[in-house]
């Protein structure tokens, strides 16, 4: 398979008056064409910042080190005026957490689509663009797309708006769709619909997806491979099912255990917790960021950050782990 994204040793720091906020402290991964990569982490883990850097959405004062290659092209070197708009609209696209806040309330859907589609098809007439919009809405399974084009954002439900966001994102035939917590604000039944829709679209268009969420259960459902982020560092990288059944890092395992399994009940089953809170990104302690909360902590853990190393699992697919004392056995 060929590579779509290659990120090497990405450091992102925000110089604040209180000190330097280290949002990412060295992230590396590669992603293949048509792959769904899940990025899991809690608030402040750096998961959103990592994709915002790829879309060059971070403010100018941000210090970015490392490299981001997209189909071999150096994203950080793209010219802001000449190259960036084309990269953002036709190679990549992004959908966000709150679809309701991402639309202009005074634009009808037709106008919204026309504006986006015109960028990609400057020579076409309004009629032709409208036909394309209808086609896109049909692809994301909005009922009666012709009629709905004249509606305004407030006339749609949250789930429908997220579908329309996806349709807009597809307008430029992106190679990569970045979905940053796209279902967090939606109801569970609608969330399930959006997940199935994304899986269908990936298959049909052979489009890569980066799916960001705090919900490991959900990411395991959609992703091929998962990165677990904590304190700006990749803690574990593994194929989704492997990570779900046999999380090796104490943090990954803690995250899975912290969600009650369906069918368990407080009267008979204990709910595991991870004690403590997330680390301070301004003055991080030396050593593994998870060490203060970890039940398997060793003396060395608090002295030096362990390396992210490939684990020999005996299987063909690779697992990378940043831990000197991981779990070796599967769950239950």
């Amino acid at each position: 398979m060929s590579q779509l994204v290659e990120i090497k040793d990405l450091h992102i720091t925000f110089p604040l008056r209180r000190g330097a906020l280290q949002a990412l402290r060295g992230m590396s991964y590669t992603m293949d064409k048509g792959e769904i990569l899940g990025i899991v982490g809690e608030s402040g883990s750096g998961k959103s910042v990592s994709v915002q850097a790829m879309m060059r959405l971070l403010p100018d004062y941000t210090q970015i080190e490392g490299s981001i290659l997209f189909e071999g092209e150096d994203v950080l070197a793209l010219d802001r005026k000449k190259e960036l708009p084309r990269f953002r609209s036709s190679k990549t696209a992004m959908i966000f957490q709150e679809p309701g806040r991402s639309f202009d309330p005074l634009y009808s859907m037709e106008k919204t689509f026309r504006e986006t589609l015109r960028l990609h098809y400057p020579a076409e007439t309004d009629e032709q663009l409208k036909a394309r919009a209808v086609e896109l809405l049909r692809e994301v399974q909005i009922p009666q797309p012709e009629e709905r084009l004249s509606s305004y954002p407030h006339q749609f439900s949250g789930g429908q708006l997220q579908r329309i966001m996806i349709a807009l994102a597809l307008a430029g035939n992106p190679r990569l769709l970045i979905a940053d917590e796209p279902t967090t604000a939606l109801d569970v039944t609608i969330q399930a619909q959006i997940i199935e829709l994304l899986l269908k679209l990936r298959k049909k268009r052979d489009m890569g997806i980066i799916f960001i969420s705090h919900d490991l259960d959900l990411v395991a459902r959609i992703a091929d491979r998962i990165l677990v982020l904590y304190g700006g560092l990749v803690m574990e990288e593994a194929p989704a099912q492997q990570l779900y059944k046999q999380p090796a890092h104490p943090y990954s395992r803690g995250l899975l255990h912290a969600l009650p399994a369906f069918g368990t009940h407080y009267s008979t089953d204990e709910l595991h917790t991870i004690p403590g809170t997330v680390p301070n990104p301004i003055h991080p302690e030396p050593g593994c960021p998870f060490a203060p909360r970890c039940s398997r902590v060793q003396k060395e853990c608090t002295e030096k950050i362990p390396d992210l190393e490939a684990l020999n699992t005996g299987e063909s697919e690779s697992v990378k782990l940043r831990c000197i004392n991981p779990y070796k056995e599967g769950l239950k």
Binding site: V188, K200, H214, H265, T277
Partner: protein, 329 residues
């Protein structure tokens, strides 16, 4: 005053409320949002009752009706206090309502927005307490506040700090402390863990379980997540479009779901999802229309013509009530 069940703590009887869609002078003539369309349920003493449903189904409105934040258009709220007295909330005078609200406390979803950023934690904890007849005076209250901080897992020395100094999980602990300091009998938890990180969510759930035992609390727990609710609650009511469509003990509901909507919720749990799920977008229900038939009619895959008439909410097996003509199992 009523013939109600013996160990009931709170009874909601056929509650209804609609909100005018237009404000001001035209409100009377305008259209309405039918938020709660006749809900009856009861909370037994010491029990945790879970309300599950998606946004707009009326679960928060129902909880607010239980503390008279809104005045119901119809129905009744009965409270059977610790002291053996029973009250109908509709008859309470202002002073009595105030007293009632110190016995039934409400915890909100978003701790960041429900704590006044300009007050220190001590003032936040005691703001309501100070107004009540049980107010013990500042020095005694200070000591109680310190004890309460320890109870919810915070440092008592932090009483003089402000909400901004705390993380989301810690703020939710403060909200809980504020509710408990007046020694309530009943706690209404409205999506208290939804805004929190996964690892913090489990800390708060465990804390609530501990406090429930310690203070012998009855709880109404509102959530949209079936997994968390079936774990945390004793009995569960599933709401859709202002109606309870199924009610059962949590373990029974986890084992078997009879209403098609409950089943859809179950199949939407991430680890259960598969390709068989509907991916087609549907038209959300129009809550400005008065409810006539089954609330789930427009989305249901099992609907028949008679579902246009309202199904009766009746006991179908021990402890399970259901409103459906064509249940799943």
């Amino acid at each position: 005053m009523s013939t109600a069940c013996k160990d009931c703590h709170l009874e909601l009887k056929d509650l209804k409320i609609r909100f005018p869609l237009e404000a001001g002078l035209f409100a009377r003539y305008g259209r309405f949002v039918y938020a709660v369309n006749g809900v009856s349920l009861h909370l037994k003493r010491g029990e945790t009752y879970g309300l599950v449903g998606e946004s707009g189904c009326g679960k928060t409105t129902l909880a607010r009706l239980a503390v008279q934040m809104y005045k119901a258009d119809g129905g009744e709220v009965l409270f059977h206090g610790k002291d053996g007295e029973s009250h109908s909330l509709m008859d309470l005078k202002k002073k009595e309502l105030f007293d009632y609200r110190s016995r039934v406390k409400y915890i909100f979803q978003d701790p960041a927005r429900s704590l006044n950023p300009r007050m220190n934690i001590y003032s936040i904890l005691t703001a309501g307490y100070r107004q009540s007849s049980a107010w013990p005076g500042d020095s005694a209250a200070r000591q109680e506040a310190e004890e309460m901080m320890v109870t919810v897992g915070l440092n008592p020395e932090d009483l003089d700090r402000r909400p901004a100094d705390f993380s989301g999980g810690q703020r939710q602990r403060i909200s809980i402390a504020r509710a408990l300091i007046m020694k309530p009998e009943l706690l209404i938890c409205d999506e208290v863990v939804s805004a929190l990180d996964v690892s913090i969510q489990s800390q708060i759930l465990n804390l609530l379980l501990k406090l429930k035992d310690k203070f012998k609390l009855t709880m109404l727990f509102i959530a949209h997540d079936l997994t968390v609710t079936t774990y945390f609650c004793d009995r569960i009511g599933v709401m859709y479009r202002g109606k309870i469509v199924e009610e059962a003990p949590a373990r029974d509901l986890a084992a078997k779901r009879m209403h098609p909507y409950t089943n859809l919720l179950y199949n939407s749990i991430p680890s259960r999802m598969d390709e068989s799920l509907e991916t087609e977008g549907y038209e959300p229900f129009d809550s400005t229309q008065p409810l006539t038939g089954c609330p789930f009619y427009h989305r249901c895959s099992r609907r028949q013509e008679d579902c246009l008439k309202p199904p009766e909410f009746r006991e179908v097996e021990l402890g399970r009530r259901l409103a459906c003509f064509y249940p799943v199992t």
